[in-house]
Every structure is written in C-alpha cells, then in structure tokens.
Symmetry: C2
Subunit: 437 residues, 2 copies
C-alpha cells in the first residue's frame, strides 16, 4: 500500500509536473488537451434546413477531447458563439500561438474535465472554419454558394450537430454547454432532443434576440453589404468586403466588452503616451498605423499637410482596428450575414407560443449563468430563461457572476465560473429545484 501510494504519487508528479525544461511548450502541460486534430463529418444524405431547402454533402468540422465511455453517455457538447469555431481547446500545431477559444475551461482536471468527459465541439453549418457554409463550393458550379446557401437558423445548427453526435456514437449528452449564440444552441438542443440532453448549461445568452441586438447586427450587415467588394455575395475567395467586415467586427467588439472594462484596459491613453508606458497589450501593433497589408491602412491615410488628424490617436482605436484586422483574416463576410440573421430570428417565445411551452419538453437539469456587466445579453435576459424553466416545472438554477468584462465574461478566466461549471457537471444526482436571484 505504501509502495502503491508512492508509485501513484510519482506517476501523478510525472503527469502534473513533467520534467521538461521551463521553456517546455504549454501544450505539453498535464492540464492541457495538447495537440489536437480537427476532423470532418460529412452527412451522407441531403440535409434539410428549417426553411425546407436541402443541401447535399453537408460537412461539419469538429474536434473531440477525451474518450467516449463504454455506456456512451459521458459526452459534453460545446456550442460556439457567432465568431467562434470547432477549435475549443488545445493546439492544432506546435506553432500555434494560442490554444482553442475555451481552453481555459476544457482539459484534464479543468472545469470540463477531459479525463472524465468526451468533449465535442463542431463548427456550425453556415460557418467558415471548415463546416459547409456560404464560402464552400457549390458542387453544382464549383463556385462558392454565396447567397445561394440556404437560410440558416439556430435550429439547423442544432439538427446538424445532432447528426454528428449520432455519427460519433453518442447515446446521450451528459451536458450541452454554450455562451451567447452557443447558449441559444444549447437551449434548443434541450428542447428539440429532450431525451438525449441530460444537462443544459447556458451562459450570457437570451431566449429572444432583442431590438438593440438586432439593430447592431443590422448595422454590421449593412457595413458588409454596402462594401462595393461584396458583389451581392459573389466575391472571389481572395477578396470580398474586407473593409465592411472589419467595421462590422469593430462595432460588434464594443458590444462584447463593457464601458468599465474598456475604461480600465485603455481609458484615454494615447498611442504616444503608450510608447512611454509599459507594453500592456502585446497583441497591439507596435505602431499606431495598421499593418501595410491591411485594408484599414489603404484608405485612411491622409495628406501629411492635413490640419486634422484622424489616424489612430487612442489605444482603444488601435485595439479595435487590430480586432477588425485579425477578424477579416479568419472569417467570411457571408457567414457573418447568415449567422447574425440566424441570431435575429431566434425567439423561443414566438417559435413555441411561449417560453414555458418552449421549455415544456425539456428533461435536462439546467444552469443559466448571467454576467452583471453583459449589456448585449444582460442578466435579466438570462434570469428570464431560468424563471421560465422553473415555471415549466423543470430543474433549473440561475447564477449571476459579478464581472466588469461585459458579454465576453463567459470566455475569460474566472475561478468562480470554473467552480460553477465543474459543480454543475460533476454532481451526480438530480437536485431539488431551487432558484435564487
């Protein structure tokens, strides 16, 4: 027993503190899922969208972390947000500078513990990270679908992902988790596949896209569609409305933060004053000017004799341009149109007659998490989801985390959030309905 214990400790030590040098890459660390390879699932039959249109050869790019157990009931589906994708955790290559978008939450021993759960994340249909979307070639023509891609809804995302789960042999979902649009997807999973979905964890989301959120989406779409390079969606692969997409992203990014977090992160610091202060934001371009290959640099230059200066003056401007710039290198403008429209259309109340009716079939235990500083999908909207679940007689709880990081709070490091997620995933028994505001 003493020996076994010793051995166990040694093994644990080896796992938790590998003897690699201090400069060992982070992806080798024991609490990381490490290097992962994305995979493609191609649905062998025609996929029928909610609007009745059919698509052959629908592909979903996905990643999995951990192992499906013998009873095939330890699967956790991660649902991504508007600009997310299937790469939720780990590194696709040792050269990657960053891990997947929810790497802080997913891994061996992390809140979503990949030693225990089989974690799946898929790029939504309509997306542009490997799943079939408007930028995919239309087999009939070889050209991108563009606006010939079927109208997209959150329900289509749910149904497509269910096909993937069936393909993977998942008997039932231990939990479906998502924030923002991912929260909508997760809720709809629990509604549409109630016997399949045992736990629902929705964060920073809403049961119906409100007028202000639609308004912001509409301005973003206009920025894209008014860009002369949009060409009614039939832009070449290496072109497209990059400027419009960057502007849409810059604006949207403001809605993901909060006034307080922007004030704390940037305040009114200027690019000039920043050069004299510590380099707080290493991701920012060193110069105030965007990189020379940036569409944002091509037109905003101005005569050097200009009396006024509309180039970057404030750090927050530089940060936003950087956000716009990086986004256009990884996202497709038509996908942005389709997915924002899917968000706009999302209204559980209207789709099912009432929120209580929407939730009537749900069998999952639910936890809804709101964030105090989220003004895109504010706490009230998250609380309303939990309340409706409770009124529908479901096991549901609501937690509100005090953060000043805005809508993106669900993506950021938070031990409080990790503890909530872990507690919700790892408790074994159904629990009595409780609700605390």
């Amino acid at each position: 027993m003493a020996i076994a214990s010793l051995l166990f400790h040694r093994m644990t030590d080896e796992i938790e503190a590998p003897s690699a040098p201090a400069s060992a890459p982070r992806y080798l660390a024991a609490d990381e899922v490490g290097l992962v390879t994305s995979q493609d699932f191609v649905y062998p039959r025609a996929f029928t969208f909610k609007n009745g249109q059919q698509l052959s050869g629908l592909a979903l790019r996905y990643e999995t972390y951990g192992t499906l157990n013998a009873t095939r009931d330890n699967a956790v589906l991660i649902c991504h947000a508007l600009s997310g994708n299937h790469h939720a955790a780990g590194w696709n290559s040792p050269a990657d500078k960053k891990p997947g978008w929810w790497n802080n939450l997913i891994g061996p021993g992390k809140a979503v513990d990949t030693r225990r759960f089989f974690v799946i994340c898929a790029n939504v249909p309509g997306g542009c990270s490997g799943s079939t979307g408007p930028s995919s070639p239309n087999p009939a023509t070889g050209e991108p679908y563009g606006l010939r891609f079927p109208a997209l809804t959150i329900l289509d995302m749910v149904r497509a992902q269910k096909l993937l789960l069936d393909h993977l042999g998942v008997a039932e979902l231990h939990t479906v988790i998502g924030g923002s649009m991912g929260g909508m997807t997760a809720m709809l999973f629990a509604i549409e596949f109630p016997r399949f979905t045992r736990r629902l964890l929705a964060m920073a989301t809403t049961a119906r896209e409100g007028a202000q959120a639609i308004a912001f989406n509409e301005v973003g779409r206009q920025a894209i569609m008014q860009d002369p390079a949009w060409l009614n969606g039939d832009y070449p692969r290496d072109g497209g409305p990059r400027v419009g997409l960057a502007i849409a992203r810059m604006m949207a990014h403001i809605t993901y933060l909060s006034d307080a977090s922007m004030e704390r992160k940037f305040g009114r610091r200027t690019i000039q004053s920043r050069a004299q202060s510590p380099q707080l934001h290493s991701e920012l371009p060193a110069s105030g000017a965007p990189p020379s290959d940036s569409p944002l640099s091509t037109l905003n230059s101005q005569p050097s004799a200009a009396a006024a200066d509309f180039n970057i003056q404030f750090e927050v401007e530089s940060y936003l341009r950087h956000q716009g710039q990086t986004f256009i290198n990884r996202f497709d403008a038509n996908s942005y149109l389709y997915i924002t429209r899917a968000l706009d259309q999302f209204d559980l109340d209207h789709a099912y007659g009432s929120l209580e009716q929407a939730f009537a079939p749900v069998q999952a235990e639910s936890l809804v998490v709101g964030f105090t500083s989220d003004w895109l999908f504010p706490p009230e909207q998250n609380r309303a989801i939990a309340l409706a679940l409770l009124r529908a007689g479901k096991r549901a709880s609501y937690a509100e985390l005090a953060t000043d990081l805005g809508h993106d709070s669900f993506l950021l490091e938070s031990e409080e959030l990790y503890a909530l997620v872990r507690g919700f995933l790892e408790r074994d028994q159904p629990y009595a309905s409780d609700f605390a505001i």
Copy 2:
C-alpha cells in the same frame, strides 16, 4: 378692477388660444416662437484655433428668439449636440414639417421662456449647417476645405460663440445650456468665461469622453474614411461617403437610445407584421425597402433567387436605415470626422490638471442633469461633474431623471425636465449649495 381683470383675461385668451381655425398651422400658436430666420455672423478678423491655425472669414449661422433687454443680461445660449445645429426652435418656413430640435423647451411660456430671455443658438464652427466647416469653400482655392480645415476642439466652439455673443451685444450670459456635446460646450463656457457666464445647465454629458464613446466614434469614422467615395476628404459637393456616413449614423443612433426604449418602440416586430398593425411610426418608409434614390438601396439588393433574406425584416432595421438615410441628406461626412474627434479630445481633467482645477474659476451656478437610461454618458459621469463643482466650492446641484429613453432623453418631451429647467432659469437668488444623489 373687474373690467381690467376682464380685459386681462381676454388678452390672455387671445394669446393662449388664438381664434384661428383648428387647422391653423402650429407655428402660429401662442407658445411657439413661430417663423424664424437664420442669420450669419462673419468674424472680421482671423480666428485662431486652439492648435494655432488661423482661419479668415469664419462664419457662424445662428438664430435668436426673444429680445435682448436693456441691461443686455437676459441672454440664454443654447449649445447643440454632435448632429444638431443652430435651428433650435421655431420654423424656418411655413412648409417645414418639423420645428427646431429643442422646440419643446424653447418658446413663449415654455421652460426657456422667450418672453423673458433672449435665446441664441449657433451652429458650431466645423459644422455643416451654415457655419464655416470642412465643407465650406476655402477662399484660397474655391474648393471645400476638406481635411485642410483646422483641427477642431470644443474650446474652439466656445471661443467662436463668444465672439458671436459679443457681436450681439450680450453683456453676460444669464445661462448657458446644452446636452451631450452641448453640455461640454456649456461647461467650457463657464470655465473659460467665468465672469460672463452666470448659470450653467449641462445635461447628459461628461467631463471626459471615455474609452467606449471614443470606440464608437472611431468605428463611425472608419465607416466614413473607408468608403471609397471619401477620397481623403476631397469629395465633390454632390457626392462623398454617403454610405459610410449612413452606417456611422445608424450605429451612433443605437447609442442614443436604450435597450428598453428600442424594445418598447420596435421589439421584434417585422415589416410584414407591421403592415397588419396600426401605423405607429409614420416617419418610416411605407415599404421595407429604402427609397430608390438611397445609397442604402443601391447595393443591398440581392438576387431574387437568394436562399437567404438580408433585406429589411424587422422594424428596427427599417427605422435605422431611415435614420441613416435622412442624416446623409443633412450632414457632411468631414464635419462628422472633425466633430467626433473634438468629442474624443474632450477631457477637462487632463486639460486643466484635475476636474476641480478645471472648475476653479467658475462663477456660474450650475445644474447638471443625468438620465438613468443614458448609457453613452451615464448618470455617474454627470454626477461626477456636479461633485467636482461642489468640491471646488461652487454652487452646483445634480438631478437625475428616471427615463428609459437613453441618451436622447434630454431632447424628448418631459414635464419633469421642463420644470427643472424653468426652476433653474427663473429663480432669482443665489442658492445654498446642495447636492442629493
């Protein structure tokens, strides 16, 4: 006495209820300033901007309502916001569909009573409603200044308006009033011309433009400057970045409202459902499509066989496009760049060392009004102004009005606001410093 009283009543009746038929135009009503004519003041010397640049022939377009009294001390200066102008009250022509932008506040017997006060409102320098700005012809070339117009600050707006007031023979300002950017202008009047400014009424404003507000301004500027028609600011008079300006305005307009007011006004109502419901918003175009002469209509049309629909579906989309559309017909894109940059630069704390030092010279009694639903310049930022005035030993008060109309609350009908304004303007004696949160 009975006869005199009777006569008085008759006269009052005549004033308050003119015997015109029910269809009499509103501009004839007794509590309206009626038809007004804008005037131009041209400064006869070179005007020196804060950055040292000089401009000859600076013109300010302005309107006045009421009469300057013999002691020349009954003047009330109205300071407009970013997209406002000199036309604060009354009608410029019987054909005008709408009166000036603060007509509900200004007029005979209204909160700013033109029977008692000589009310002045001027378009700011840099503007595009008649005052000299980037769209004005550069005398040296005959072409618009474009970006050769001097860099603009709120201080330049204040100094230019002071020249106008001197020209009009105003000995001292009874009150300077403004909301949003107008509140900044008003504060700076009280700081820069302390002996001249007896009362200061600032609403929905801030002592320093914060990171989020700068961020929104920057996205708007990018939308304009990335529009290929911007041409580094040297666009023809009949052209220019109309699409970019419309997008900037659509986005900015969201920040002037509140989530609650948009929800109440539009919710998720669609254009289709609206056709079946009462015509609530007569200002909206009857069809979902923008007018055919709209830049917003030229590019956003899509193939009729399109699978997805990115045309207008929701009322809020139609409303925003209408806002963008009407704005580009009355506003100059370069003025938008200059004035938003002036807002970004506004930081009393930084300019004077501290907010208390900024307010040290102030002799005006001050009232600051914040609105609970204003998230562009939220109540805290307005409260901070009053607190700093109090710490600097000034007579100052703060009032917070509960509205759900967002930043634009200061422009909308509110008996509560009218009573506050009237009470502040009409009290005769200095008052003890009081402050209630």
